[in-house]
Symmetry: C2
């Protein structure tokens, strides 16, 4: 079986992954360098000559493959969201597609819990006080998560992982997701944003951005949170009425941990940069796996990629297969 | 049955707790105001006349009660460490003593996880960059806890809770505690500090301070951690060779989250206050439970106090009974 990959500048895949791919029994890996000079027909022909395409940020996978796949049966896409690289015709064709699966969900869940813990213990104020040799004795409000009423808005991959991380703290977890029937037995399901906000001390946003969710976290909902209540958002900035949230933060009434804003930046002189009741991580809450030798040192996402390639070669079922419904939900 | 309490200025016990105590069937609660003018004999006589003493920071419980307890059978102490209020003769007498149990353990476990997550995602640098409108693109090293080798030094209450909080992240957890035979099945036991440090990317200290542990985290052990390795300490500052750790931090080689130092403060102009690879929370990683109405709003510690008082009245077994061994281990 033959797998093709177009070499990437600054590849997210560490060399150890390619070494491991090349060692999969029954798989021959070809890495195409300098592919940017290839004509569209040549690109198409190269892909048609292979069983597997290991696809990354570029090039765009030709839509013609939907009708004329040649030998191509599987596109192993090594990132999450794929609209800019893989079109709907391919998704609707018989070619199997997988992505990096729940890697992003894991990273976002960790980001949400980090921000929740940091905000609820006023780490921004503590750091500013220490740097300024300022002797403020900071006693954080509602700091013990074992007593916290936490509302989770949206219950996809990231939220599912987040509640698993939160569970051993003993928080009271309420979940709102109109498209989800069942929640874990240690959580409660609520039916409206009003119920979620009126009963929560902290609300964690893991919803997707849709016309329905856009600006759905309104001024009225924010007003339902108690003083020093907390908003955490690692999903999309546009889900929140940001003017309303910033009014609450400027007044010192609420606290927030935001990885995302809308628009997704603040001017250099924006006063929100100084608000100690806000931790803003600039949509950059990313990081690297620890530098370790070999495959053990790669990210979970890369392990999934490897597992799927092995599974395909051995004729087993793939994980995180992208169908039209999942493709449509991608942000 | 009669319970006595000497009123405290700035009591840690919210009124809701006293209201709930007064409502325990079969219990009569007397709160003594202005007790500071009482003579020692009067104080002793008042305590001897009651079955239960709900003891707090003051007054010192007279040692004479060990030999002459009168009616006193139970001292319900509402804090943790008690040497300044209750002497060894009382502990050795037949009078039962309980304390607030695992409240501190819960708080310390949350503090350790908060610091671990904050340090490993370089929150100090991120906050400084945002405040200074500094466009640094911060990519944290070894950020994904699902890949982290975490060493836990000491396995008492706080550490036990900490590993429960860490478990759903999927970290590889190694534990060193020569006095503990069994660790949870998702953890590994190691036998020496050398094994712990050489195999860990982050080490979390939950050991007690004893002659054996003092400065046990030595320069040699710290050197075994990889670049950007992490030390978290919410236990006691003197467990670490702080000069060695500060050398590593000054050089930018390690990262740390420290609630405690030795001595437990930094001068106003100490350069460590500016180190972005250090988060220092000044032995003040405390907070309040959320302000809620009634007993539901009180801390876990206060619920334990109430549960023990009810259990005593009903003749049931008490939780967190202090014996001589536990008393000796108190810091």
């Amino acid at each position: 079986m033959k797998a093709l990959h177009f070499e990437q500048e600054n590849s997210v895949l560490p060399p150890a992954v390619f070494e491991a791919v090349a060692e999969i029994p029954g798989l021959e890996l070809e890495i195409v360098k300098d592919w940017s000079s290839l004509k569209q027909e040549e690109l198409l022909a190269r892909i048609q000559g292979c069983d597997i395409l290991i696809a990354s940020r570029a090039p765009y996978v030709p839509d013609e493959l939907a009708e004329h796949p040649g030998k191509l049966k599987y596109i192993c896409y090594v990132h999450g969201t794929m609209r800019k690289v893989i079109g709907l015709p391919i998704v609707r064709s018989g070619i199997q597609i997988t992505n990096w699966g729940d890697q992003a969900g894991h990273a976002l869940a960790q980001a949400s819990l980090t921000l929740l813990l940091a905000v609820i213990s006023d780490l921004h104020s503590r750091i500013v006080a220490v740097r300024g040799a300022d002797g403020r004795h900071i006693i954080s409000e509602g700091m013990f998560i074992s007593h916290l009423n936490v509302g989770v808005y949206g219950f996809g991959f990231a939220a599912r992982k987040f509640v698993k991380l939160l569970q051993p703290f003993g928080a009271n977890i309420r979940i709102l997701d109109p498209y989800v029937d069942k929640v874990p037995d240690y959580c409660h399901r609520v039916d409206s944003l009003e119920d979620l906000f009126s009963e929560s001390q902290a609300v964690v946003i893991h919803a997707g951005l849709t016309p329905e969710t856009e600006k759905s976290v309104s001024r009225e909902l924010l007003a339902m949170l108690p003083d020093q209540g907390v908003i955490i958002n690692t999903a999309r900035g546009a889900i929140i009425d940001q003017t309303a949230l910033f009014d609450e933060l400027r007044a010192g009434r609420l606290r927030a941990g935001l990885d995302v804003l809308w628009p997704d930046d603040l001017s250099d002189d924006h006063q929100a940069r100084q608000w100690e009741n806000l931790i803003w991580t600039r949509h950059r809450f990313g990081g690297k796996a620890w530098q370790s030798e070999g495959v053990e040192g790669v990210l979970r996402a890369h392990k999934l990629t490897l597992d799927n390639l092995r599974a395909f070669v051995e004729g087993r079922t793939l994980d995180f297969v992208i169908d039209e419904a999942r493709y449509a939900r991608m942000t």
